[in-house]
């Protein structure tokens, strides 16, 4: 029964297809939200399309549905490949895919009906929190058993990040969602915000970042054909990430009355993040040194290279943003929205899509259906996200400065209208890119020509 779930790499492929699908759904809901901020009466009073309900669908679907699903798909191919073995159990991989996606699917359904726990990024209702945790536990089992059954003695850095992500998220998710409090999923009083932002930031820090970093570490040396520049640097980057990233959630509520020592810890460690981030970037940069042409020419590696450049922006801006002197202007404004987009789409999203185009031929045994479409998709997404960053940053500075000098929030709204309109227009490009990507994935599976040689898919351009 269900023999297809036993085929080698079928679990990886399932995660990739699910991720491409959720990219389309997630950005569509982002579009609804953007339109709302531009023309709030356009949809009338349609319960499923009010901003308060579309925004959590957008955010959760792109984080859990798109970026993490695609990255898990790439990881499930990369880890066995690096350990010279097969995934311990394809069926377990499918099962964890099923539980994970059940949670993602619950978003558009329950949120649009007004069933949500309301805490940012922790909105999934309790039963679907459980489903996601089950998925993580299955992932841990699968990864551990794959490592146990390996035929390559050395554990490559991608394997560390994959294993680490599953182990950490199995702690982060139940704590952050306060899963022992049913049904509110929240603690009483201000302490709840401490839990919430520990969780919120670790979604980026201990889910998207390690998975994306792992995929970049996997693809970059393979495409450039050079060995990893430094083992020591990869160790420092890995341990630095889990040590520092896990402390910095407090910078989201820096101006709220949480304890001062917690604010200090979050700022110091936020600044400290610059170290592991730039260690990783330096390591990958030196690995690819002199061979950036080969990264550019491989359609998958091109997205990853771009994702790494966004990583520089994101993780320079992020630590600076934690400083009170900057945050007094930027907090609460669209500046932060711009930052969130370059983190999730620019950095981890671009690396996810790069990994998708790199890994998809390897797990389907078919050449990419259309390199031109993937290239077009790249251009659209890059234009969209760059525009987003510029437009939202300007809007944020405008709001923040106006507020700081005594204008009330309501009075400043007309001033950001042009930016909200530009953002919605740029959003169209990103939505188009998502649908083109989904089409390309499906056509590769249905119509792609078989890979003729065993050159790790590097010939598919």
């Amino acid at each position: 029964m269900l023999a297809f779930t036993k085929k080698t790499n079928s679990a990886s492929r399932a995660w990739l297809v699910a991720g491409a699908f959720w990219f389309a759904v997630g950005t569509t809901y982002g579009m609804f939200s953007a339109i709302h901020l531009m023309a709030p009466d356009l949809f009338g009073a349609t319960p499923g399309l009010v901003f308060g309900r579309t925004r959590p669908i957008h955010v959760n679907t792109v984080i859990f549905g798109f970026a993490s699903s695609v990255l898990w798909g790439c990881t499930l191919y990369a880890v066995p490949a690096l350990l010279r073995t097969r995934l311990w159990s394809e069926r377990t991989g499918w099962l964890s895919m099923f539980f994970w996606n059940a949670t993602v699917l619950s978003g558009p359904i329950t949120f649009s009906m007004g069933y949500s726990q309301g805490r940012e990024y922790a909105e999934y209702i309790w039963i679907f929190d459980c489903s996601l945790v089950v998925s993580l536990l299955l992932m841990i089992l699968n990864l551990v058993m794959t490592i146990v059954n390996r035929r390559e003695k050395l554990l490559y850095v991608t394997v560390w990040y994959a294993m680490g992500t599953a182990l950490w998220m199995a702690g982060v998710y139940p704590i952050g969602n306060v899963m022992w409090q049913v049904p509110s999923g929240a603690l009483p009083g201000l302490l709840d915000s401490v839990f919430l932002w520990f969780y919120g930031h670790n979604l980026v820090g201990l889910l998207l970042t390690p998975l994306a970093t792992g995929v970049a570490y996997f693809v970059v040396p393979r495409v450039t054909g050079t060995p990893l520049y430094s083992h020591t640097l990869s160790l420092l980057g890995f341990w630095g990430l889990v040590l520092l990233y896990s402390h910095i959630g407090g910078h989201h509520i820096l101006q709220a009355p949480i304890p001062n020592w917690l604010k200090t810890v979050s700022i110091v460690d936020s600044m400290g993040m610059i170290i592991p981030v730039f260690i990783v970037l330096f390591n990958l940069w030196m690995t690819a040194r002199g061979r950036f042409g080969s990264l550019w020419n491989d359609i998958g590696a091109r997205w990853i290279l771009t994702g790494l450049i966004w990583y520089i922006f994101t993780c320079t801006q992020g630590p600076l943003q934690s400083l009170p002197i900057l945050q007094k202007i930027t907090h609460f404004s669209n500046w932060t929205i711009g930052h969130a987009h370059i983190a999730v789409l620019g950095f981890s999203g671009f690396i996810a899509i790069g990994g998708l185009w790199y890994v998809l031929p390897l797990v389907t045994g078919r050449q990419l259906y259309s390199r031109k479409l993937a290239s077009l998709q790249y251009g659209l997404a890059l234009l969209g996200i760059t525009g987003f960053f510029v437009v939202l940053t300007i809007a944020g500075l405008l709001q923040g400065t106006a507020w700081y000098h005594g204008q009330i929030v309501y009075e400043v709204l007309p001033y950001i209208t042009p930016y909200m309109i530009s953002r919605a227009m740029l959003g169209v490009l990103i939505v188009m890119s998502a649908y083109i990507g989904l089409y390309n994935v499906l056509m590769t599976i249905w119509k792609g020509r078989p890979l003729m040689d065993g050159t790790n898919g590097r010939t598919h351009r």
């Binding site: 554990l155 201000l190 341990w239 896990s246 009355p257 929030v409």
Partner: protein
């Protein structure tokens, strides 16, 4: 250093849980708030309102804490940890596409909020809030009660004042124009009544005033300001038709 499976799993977990002990366990053990001076328990209705607020994502645009640098109309006092004592869930928010609501209680009459929830542009033409016209009157009432409860005891005091004065104003209005003008004048201190208006009532000034009136006042007070019963959504509710059925009106 060589990365072995044991180091990876045990080391990874140890570092992570050490972080959890700093970022989560330590605050849980040490953050011990007492209720602040304005704190008061939530009534069932307010709790219901908060539930609607949470489930419908109001917190994505409305924060619930006033910072030291805030100047907004609602910023009366800087948030204290004790303001949030025992409220569950209480969502502070991270974005302001609308005003902070933590101290909004009592600043507007209930009717204003009801009109605003049904069609935000009715009371605030620049508002980006969605219309919540699909909520039942009971839900809108609960949501209104929640907003009116923000700032706890201070909000209750403001609500009491507000009701007192609106009752007197309505009475004066009903007594006819002369009595109404007498009452309005009686609310102005004697020395001020005799003072000339330094702002000349020329055509330009009147035009400017008219524009402000049309933008911010006309929907509730009528074209010339002589309407007693609120028009639009609140009026529909007062007539027993239910706020949900009042159709959102486009901005003129």
């Amino acid at each position: 250093m060589k990365m072995t499976p044991a180091l990876l799993v045990i080391g990874g977990l140890m570092v992570f849980w050490a972080s959890v002990s700093v970022a989560i366990i330590l605050p849980s053990a040490t953050m011990d708030e007492k209720p602040s001076d304005i704190w008061e328990p939530w009534s069932q209705k307010v709790k219901r309102g908060n539930d609607i607020y949470v489930r419908n994502g109001c917190s994505y645009c409305h924060s619930q804490f006033i910072r030291i640098m805030d100047w907004d109309g609602d910023a009366h006092r800087i948030a204290q940890a004790g303001d949030y004592y025992s409220y569950q869930p209480i969502i502070l928010g991270t974005e302001r596409a609308g005003p902070d609501l933590s101290q909004d209680g009592g600043l507007h009459p209930d009717e204003w909020h009801i009109a605003h929830f049904v069609n935000p542009r009715y009371t605030r033409p620049y508002s980006l809030m969605p219309s919540w016209a699909f909520f039942s009157p009971e839900e809108i009432d609960a949501l209104t009660a929640f907003v009116q409860s923000r700032t706890g005891r201070d909000a209750d005091e403001r609500m009491r004042e507000q009701l007192k004065w609106s009752r007197q104003a309505v009475e004066a209005y009903r007594a006819g124009p002369d009595a109404n003008i007498r009452w309005i004048h009686s609310r102005v201190a004697e020395p001020w009544r005799a003072m000339p208006n330094p702002y000349t009532a020329d055509a330009d000034a009147l035009k400017r005033g008219e524009r402000i009136y049309q933008l911010d006042c006309i929907n509730c007070h009528g074209p010339t300001g002589d309407v007693e019963v609120l028009r639009g959504p609140p009026a529909a509710r007062a007539r027993g038709k239910g706020a949900a059925r009042a159709r959102p009106r486009r901005r003129a």
